[in-house]
């Protein structure tokens, strides 16, 4: 439904967006990630026809945005980053204007307004002036405007910005639900939203796409993906490390001596584990795999630790924040590695 080819935008000499290409089909929710100033909003403004691209094309539902803007814009609903709304109107007046400009009249307009008021919980402020609204309500008013004509394509620039945790949850649920029948792009810098709502995510940095895949695929890029964490009692830290380092699939082993568990160990009955338990505290070990995704490491760890006293063992899924950090901060990451 949305097709972006080689999209580039120059602001003076600065390349805000540099040759981006991607597509979004019906039934997809695409999360658009990136640090501040990466070009997320600029891309969305070009998608919706607000900014003309320096080069490249945007095709929406088969219509070229620069050649046939009006039929293309009819298919779109757009929530701009700052969630602007006419401050001199009531919420109802504003939604009514949005409905009319989308060609809705009479009963169709009324039912459209009722629908979005319900979806966005605007009942209590319906006849209040927009400039008296709190940020969350204003945001939802603008969001309501973007879905008033039940568009096939939704472009949402930070849709959960400024909302409280409950509202964030509701909006994510809503996006996820609408995503079954629509093509949705939304930008965010909250990584948990990618899991909560996206079927696919793109990470963009300095105007270039640096990663594109499902949340699971992105996560597998993390060094944590497939790592095994376990908590061992009664064995010395260096002994644990030496043993696990020999595993074929292990890349590195990080050992952490848990201080919090000291009192509980010393309080335990002395006759059960004898001296070992009292003198060696619980050890938390993380074994990082050489390659993510296969279950080999977990099996090897289980085999190697046979007979140990283990209170916890889990396989990590990978951490999006770490992937995000490594991809978008290569300079800093390189420095830290040294």
């Amino acid at each position: 439904m949305i097709k972006v080819e080689n999209l580039t935008k120059l602001f003076g000499a600065k390349r805000a967006v540099d040759g981006i290409s991607f597509t979004v089909e019906r039934g997809e929710v695409l999360g658009f990630l990136g640090p501040n100033g990466a070009g997320k909003s600029t891309t969305m403004r070009m998608l919706t026809g607000f900014l003309p691209p320096t080069s490249g094309t945007v095709t929406v539902g088969g219509y070229d945005m620069s050649e046939q803007p009006i039929p293309a814009k009819k298919l779109l609903g757009y929530l701009p980053e700052s969630a602007p709304a006419y401050t001199d109107m009531t919420v109802h007046g504003f939604l009514s204007f949005a409905a009319e400009i989308r060609g809705l009249r009479g009963d169709a307009k009324k039912s459209a307004i009722n629908r979005v008021v319900d979806l966005c919980f605007l009942d209590s402020v319906l006849h209040q002036n927009v400039d008296t609204l709190s940020k969350g309500y204003r945001h939802r008013t603008c969001f309501a405007q973007s879905i008033i004509h039940d568009p096939d394509i939704l472009v949402l620039d930070e849709p959960t910005d400024g909302l409280d945790p409950n509202q964030k949850h509701e909006i994510r649920q809503l996006i996820r639900k609408m995503g079954e029948k629509k093509a949705i792009i939304f930008s965010t810098h909250i990584l948990e939203e990618v899991d909560a709502a996206c079927t696919r995510a793109i990470i963009i940095d300095r105007g270039v796409i640096v990663a594109n895949g499902t949340p699971g695929e992105l996560r597998r890029k993390s060094e944590w993906a497939g790592a095994v964490t376990l908590r061992v009692h009664g064995i010395a830290a260096n002994e644990v490390q030496a043993k696990l380092n020999q595993l074929r699939s292990a890349k590195k082993v990080v050992v952490e001596v848990a201080r919090a568990s000291l009192p509980s160990v010393s309080n335990s009955a002395p006759e059960t584990n004898g001296r070992d338990a009292r003198s060696t505290p619980a050890v938390t070990v993380t074994v990082f795999p050489r390659s993510a995704g296969d279950g080999d490491l977990t099996r090897e760890v289980i085999a190697a630790t046979n007979g140990w006293q283990i209170s916890e063992l889990r396989t990590e899924e990978g951490r999006l924040d770490e992937v995000f950090y490594n991809i978008t901060m290569p300079d800093t990451a390189a420095k830290e590695a040294k």
């Binding site: 602001f11 003076g12 403004r45 919706t48 026809g49 607000f50 900014l51 003309p52 009006i70 039929p71 814009k73 009819k74 779109l76 757009y78 701009p80 700052s82 602007p84 709304a85 006419y86 401050t87 001199d88 109107m89 007046g93 204007f97 949005a98 009319e100 400009i101 989308r102 060609g103 002036n129 603008c142 405007q145």
Partner: protein, 250 residues
């Protein structure tokens, strides 16, 4: 949807916005007070003993509009840009010119309402004597057209900047030029400076709203004057659309 429907929707929103904010009422009250004061006190309506409104009422309009019309027009685009609703408006399925025309028409209608509310002056002059109401009507038409020309200039300055104050000041200066080009003292000065170059003086004065408003005040609906005002409006709105487009490309 058809362009007319879009223009109507935009204009309706804009008109409602005027009347839900105090701007409209402040403007109308000040406009009427100024009109009353200048017509009866400064213009000497009673002392003249003429059943006419030309030299006591309409003569002030170019000067009232100089300050009042930029005050009406200054928020048209600068507010949209400041609040960010421009992004909303221009991503809706309408052509930019429809938005420009819709907004202009709303403000122009609003000025028309303010002008219409000066009708007690017409009632007064009709009560005291028997004026030529055709002349008065023509002068009203001219006054409204002139207000439209000022307003269109304010549209340009409003599109240039995010700040309403800057927009107001620039458009007052621009409108002042349009008045002064036909203001008798300035014409005399120009004639003195340019010696016998009448064509130059004529060219300059033909750009003045005063020159073109004079005909209407005498009751003459000259097509050249009407075309002058309409072309100022057309040109200014076109310039506005160019400015709005340039903002988005750079």
């Amino acid at each position: 949807m058809n362009p007319l429907g879009n223009i109507k929707t935009i204009a309706k929103r804009e008109l409602v916005a005027y009347f839900t904010s105090p701007v409209a009422y402040v403007f109308i009250v000040i406009f009427l007070l100024l009109n009353g004061f200048f017509t009866f006190m400064v213009g000497g309506f009673f002392e003249r003993g003429q059943a006419s409104l030309a030299s006591s009422f309409f003569v002030w309009h170019p000067w009232f509009y100089l300050f009042l019309v930029p005050a009406v027009g200054m928020r048209l685009w600068s507010e949209e840009r400041r609040v960010g609703t421009l992004e909303l408006l221009l991503t809706m399925p309408i052509a930019p010119w429809e938005a420009i025309v819709g907004k202009f028409i709303a403000s122009w209608l609003f000025l028309g309402v303010a002008l219409f509310l000066t009708f007690p002056v017409v009632l007064t002059v009709n009560h005291l004597g028997s004026p030529d109401n055709g002349v008065i009507f023509a002068a009203y038409v001219g006054s409204w057209l002139m207000a439209g020309a000022y307003l269109a200039v304010s549209c340009i300055t409003s599109a240039i900047t995010r700040s309403q104050v800057v927009s107001f000041i620039i458009s007052v200066v621009a409108c002042l030029f349009m008045i002064l080009a036909g203001f008798p003292p300035v014409i005399n000065l120009l004639q003195g400076l340019t010696n016998n170059w009448h064509w130059l003086v004529d060219t300059i004065t033909s750009f003045s709203v005063i020159t073109h408003f004079e005909g209407f005040q005498k009751g003459v609906l000259d097509s050249r004057d009407i075309i002058f005002f309409l072309s100022v409006i057309g040109f200014s709105l076109f310039t506005t659309s160019v400015i709005l487009r340039t903002h988005r490309t750079t």
